[in-house]
């Protein structure tokens, strides 16, 4: 039988971080993590537990994402994040962090589901075998998937950042014109 405490202590934090990055909501992430652990407890024989946990958590997220209410909530979250762009009153460090987070969220959402999951799993230290098992991929395709995911993420982020800077520059220029 799997030692439940060791399972929690070893995998709770990386799993919640993976899910938080995936979902953008820590409460939701912790809820999915809990459900994942509950299922792990029911599992009699757990081979390759890290891959199993991440696979179950990923499937739970996919199931949840199909529900309209969850999607609506996620959209609300995105909207809230985009709102932070307009909060000029915030301290500059908070504003920059909020902007960076919003950009990162948009960039990660621009990836395909499989690329996103593979990348987030890799960031949590899963090796290629575990990623292949969790996502039902062939081992040879994990490297290709990860390279594609990383390139797209960086490119999407840079593109979004340029668009944001251009918009802000345009706004400042326009404001100056009106002022003069």
């Amino acid at each position: 039988m799997t030692d439940v405490e060791r399972l929690f202590r070893t995998y709770h934090d990386p799993l919640v971080r993976y899910l938080t990055r995936r979902l953008g909501d820590r409460d939701w992430a912790e809820e999915v993590a809990q459900e994942t652990f509950v299922r792990a407890l029911r599992q009699k024989d757990l081979q390759n537990e890290r891959a199993w946990l991440f696979a179950v958590a990923t499937n739970l997220v996919r199931d949840e994402a199909r529900k309209d209410t969850r999607r609506r909530r996620h959209l609300e979250l995105l909207r809230e994040e985009s709102k932070t762009d307009a909060f000029v009153e915030q301290p500059i460090t908070d504003l920059e962090r909020a902007q960076e987070r919003a950009l990162a969220r948009k960039a990660i959402d621009a990836l395909t589901e499989r690329d996103r999951e593979a990348l987030l799993m890799r960031e949590e230290g899963l090796d290629y075998n575990e990623i292949a098992e969790a996502l039902q991929l062939s081992l040879a395709s994990v490297g290709t998937t990860l390279s594609r995911a990383r390139r797209r993420l960086v490119e999407a982020y840079e593109e979004l950042r340029k668009v944001g800077e251009g918009r802000r520059a345009g706004g400042e220029g326009g404001g100056g014109g009106r002022g003069s």
């Binding site: 039988m1 030692d3 439940v4 405490e5 929690f8 202590r9 709770h12 934090d13 919640v16 971080r17 938080t20 990055r21 953008g24 909501d25 820590r26 409460d27 939701w28 912790e30 809820e31 809990q34 652990f37 509950v38 407890l41 029911r42 909530r73 609300e76 979250l77 809230e80 962090r97 960076e100 987070r101 950009l103 990162a104 969220r105 960039a107 990660i108 990348l119 987030l120 890799r122 960031e123 090796d127 290629y128 040879a140 395709s141 994990v142 490297g143 290709t144 998937t145 990860l146 390279s147 594609r148 995911a149 990383r150 390139r151 993420l153 960086v154 982020y157």
Partner: protein, 385 residues
């Protein structure tokens, strides 16, 4: 050797290729400027994507809308419910008072159900008293019918059939209608007969009854005759006696619809988890297999090194639950969120059981029951949370 593809380079940089392949790749990259550039780019992509993903970690808990547990809000909520309840009591009280007053003006004969004087049944004994607790809609309907009948006294038998039809149309089951007829005070019917023959008084009764909301929901068990007497005699109406009519039942139902969230606000807060030696709340084992496994882990953890003083989040999931739980009003699929009061992690869910107790399911740690009187003050947490 052909140029390395991007996937291979990333696998190599991630340490996912075997030693033989590593040597081949290293040898190739050392002599191929194109692949060397690709490797440099891949390193940049790996570092860049990690940095972007790290920015995602700056997500505070509770970014989605939820209900706060602040005491002020609790007070506002309860005051709001109180206002509705007060308005409800006032409205029902005025309605019932008016009804009593008019009934007094009309005389005791008008308190009888006038329609039943058409029913041919033998009088057995004097009436205990009038059916003031008859549902308003029924009274209205039958009063108007009887007024109609009073204007046409020649139709002596037909109205009875019409009355029966109307009772059926009002979605009262035949069985129920029959029961009502049988239970009606029979001599009262005879006494009311004279009054009903006076069409003007029947009209007046109908006019009084008409403003009452037409919700046909008869009370399952009519109150005894003595209670009715008090109701008719006293104009000072008490709430416990008033919420009987169909109209009030409907409005009370509407109140109950709004009640649960404020109930949750009332029940939410911090509760201290009893240790095995404590004799406060009752702890019982969860029926799920999770609890069994948790117990097993508890035995093993007693041999393990003690946990650090500042408990990590994972400790919230240990079989031994946190000492202090905070019951949040954040709705979750299986109930409302339960957090550890110290680390703010969501560690289970809770639900209301009865009016003054809650049941908390802590997954691995089991199921707990708490009474609201056991609630304690919540510790001050990080305001950024």
């Amino acid at each position: 050797m052909n140029h390395l593809d991007e996937g291979t380079i990333h696998a190599w940089l991630d340490g996912a290729v075997d030693a033989t392949r590593v040597r081949e790749i290293e040898a190739h990259v050392a002599q191929c400027s194109s692949c060397s550039a690709t490797v440099a780019e891949a390193r940049g992509l790996i570092a860049g994507s990690s940095r972007i993903l790290n920015a995602l970690d700056d997500v505070p808990a509770g970014v989605t809308p939820k209900r706060a547990v602040a005491p002020k809000r609790q007070w506002r909520a309860s005051r709001w419910v109180t206002s509705i309840a007060a308005a409800l009591v006032l409205a029902i009280g005025i309605t019932t008072w008016n009804r009593g007053a008019v009934q007094d003006q009309l005389g005791p004969s008008m308190t009888a159900n006038p329609v039943l004087d058409r029913v041919q049944v033998p009088a057995v004994q004097p009436p205990p008293l009038a059916s003031a607790t008859q549902p308003a809609a029924e009274t209205t309907m039958k009063a108007s019918i009887s007024a109609d009948n009073a204007r046409k006294p020649e139709a002596s038998q037909a109205p009875a059939r019409r009355d029966a039809d109307v009772v059926k149309q009002s979605r009262v089951t035949p069985k129920l209608a029959k029961t009502r007829v049988a239970k009606q005070p029979l001599a009262d019917v005879g006494r009311a007969a004279g009054a009903v023959s006076d069409s003007s008084r029947a009209d007046a009764f109908a006019a009084v009854a008409a403003p009452l909301p037409a919700a046909a929901a008869p009370s399952a068990s009519p109150p005894p005759a003595e209670t009715r007497l008090r109701r008719l005699g006293d104009r000072q109406v008490q709430l416990s006696e008033v919420v009987v009519t169909g109209a009030s039942a409907k409005r009370a139902g509407a109140l109950n619809q709004a009640a649960p969230m404020s109930e949750m606000d009332r029940l939410a807060g911090c509760y201290r988890v009893p240790r095995p030696s404590g004799a406060g709340a009752v702890m019982r084992e969860a029926a799920s297999a999770a609890a069994n496994v948790a117990a097993e882990a508890k035995r093993t953890s007693s041999r393990a090194a003690p946990a650090p003083a500042r408990a990590p989040v994972a400790a919230d999931f240990a079989p031994q639950p946190p000492a202090l739980l905070r019951l949040d009003t954040l709705r979750r699929p299986l109930g409302f969120a339960v957090r550890s009061a110290t680390s703010d992690s969501t560690i289970g869910w809770w639900n209301r059981v009865g009016s003054d107790s809650v049941q908390v399911d802590l997954l691995a740690a089991g199921v707990f029951s708490f009474a609201t009187k056991d609630r304690v003050n919540c510790p001050i947490t990080n305001p950024e949370r």
